[in-house]
Symmetry: C2
Subunit: 221 residues, 2 copies
DNA sequence: CTCGTTTTGTTCTCGCGTTCACAAACTCCT
DNA sequence: AGGAGTTTGTGAACGCGAGAACAAAACGAG
């Protein structure tokens, strides 16, 4: 994808590791809340559901934050991972499409507690503009540019029907949004430099169905 | 061709390919609805957002369903992929935890159109048991076993708070459910033979934040 | 101070997934 | 029928990630 040609001091962390860091962060938060001061790689690996060798290797990309013979200081490591991911300050986020799913997302408390702040809810349907969801009032989609500008929004969430998703994405990119989380069941095309991640319930279920079908084929023999 | 010898009828498809088959299926459905009869691997790859070589290799694990010099018959290939995934018939599904997210999932029309049928909505909170969501009435969580038995349910969806998720998973497994889609932000531990997939909004956002942070570091130089 | 114990950080190897490149196979036109 | 053009299916090269294994480092006991 985006080739980072610059001879930068910033070490590049493997994508597979980046995807696991949030899991470690969550496990460390749970440990911290239960009063744990230090933990071994074995403990943390179990809490995160991964192999301990893999955990240590992942952490080694960040630096040497453990103590041999002792383990990791839970709060210290938690801060280091949060800093590496970039969630020590809140990221402003807009959600577009306040239907069934958009309502659930707006009401989701995990946003705020994990480094994100919903600054606006947008919908194209004028009949929704009266509504207030989770203390935030739903505004016209055309307010997007102004909101993005005023709040320095870099991350957008799309929860519209699939047919509208590409248009919404185009508008977001035009406003300067460079990271998109897409819940619509469609492939988005965006210019280089814009990251898109998708969440697709149907795909997950179909993967489960595939494996379920295989189990059923072998079992009754 | 590969005659289905009963001993080794099931070729094993790489996990990475399995994860992409639903994307191809969706792209083929879109093509079919737009009246397209045949398509090349290039066309389909573009619609699915992947490399055409990868697409052809993925399809080659299923068999030889294309015609050289011509391409693929859209409806024929669509049926073959659906059959391989196992979504030519509907899978019964139960959803546990009918809060914000559970409501959205119950109202999601993509379930039925993609090979799944919600047979029950379950919640532990008695005040929810009066409710009817998307034509299905919310029932007590303790009805789980009966519902699973009567409907032959193999797939369960967890949309409860994280603290309850492991208990719900244990109960599901005890009833005979062997595939779980987990929306709660926690690591589930299940016996071998049970598949778990997770959908975690916070993780996706944090991955975006990581890359966003890196962009911001390079840009202003 | 030295030795044994614990646990990290890293090296090495292996397997999987991605991509390239091309022969094989099919259609169409003359 | 034969040749030109098109597109599939796959062998081979390559790079990345997973996991095992171990040396290096810290700590405590005596
Ligand atoms: N509901 C779920 O559980 C679920 C699960 C997985 C995926 N999805 C996907 O998420 C998306 C939303 O699902 P939903 O159930 O909330 O649908 P919905 O129809 O309830 O809500 C869609 C909302 O988007 C708004 N909208 C339409 N076009 C718009 C535009 N151009 N700009 C701004 N807003 C616009 C509509 O006014 C509506 O409020 C769909 O693509 C769906 O496939 C939903
Ligand atoms: N809302 C979102 O957009 C969103 C996004 C990502 C993840 N999640 C996660 O999904 C889960 C549900 O989120 P929500 O916003 O719908 O929460 P919610 O509190 O609105 O709903 C949870 C429901 O689960 C029920 N419940 C609790 N314990 C139960 C048990 N033991 N058995 C059966 N039912 C039980 C509750 O009665 C409630 O109705 C949470 O774990 C949350 O972190 C939600």
């Amino acid at each position: 994808m985006t080739a980072r040609t610059s001879a930068e001091s910033t070490r590049d962390i493997p994508e597979a590791t980046v995807a696991r860091l949030p899991v470690y962060l969550r496990a460390l938060t749970t440990l911290s809340e239960s009063g744990t001061i230090t933990c071994s790689s074995e403990d943390l690996a179990q809490a995160a559901g991964v192999n301990s060798a893999k955990l240590r290797k992942d952490l080694s990309y960040l630096g040497s934050y453990g103590t041999r013979g002792v383990g990791y200081d839970v709060d210290y490591l938690r801060y280091q991972i949060a800093r590496e991911i970039g969630v020590t300050q809140d990221w402003p986020v807009v959600i577009v499409g306040i239907g069934n799913l958009g309502h659930a997302l707006a009401n989701y408390s995990g946003f705020r507690s994990r480094g994100f702040r919903v600054v606006a809810l947008l919908d194209a349907d004028p009949t929704r503009h009266d509504e207030v969801v989770a203390g935030i009032d739903v505004r016209p989609f055309d307010d997007l540019e102004q909101i993005v500008r005023e709040n320095g929004v870099a991350i957008g969430v799309i929860a519209t029907p699939a047919i509208a998703a590409q248009d919404v994405a185009d508008r977001m990119v035009a406003c300067g949004i460079s990271s998109i989380l897409n819940f619509a069941a469609t492939v988005l095309s965006v210019p280089a430099g814009v990251d898109v991640r998708k969440v697709d319930l149907s795909i997950e279920l179909q993967i489960l169905a595939y494996h379920e079908q295989r189990k059923a084929q072998v079992e009754p023999a």
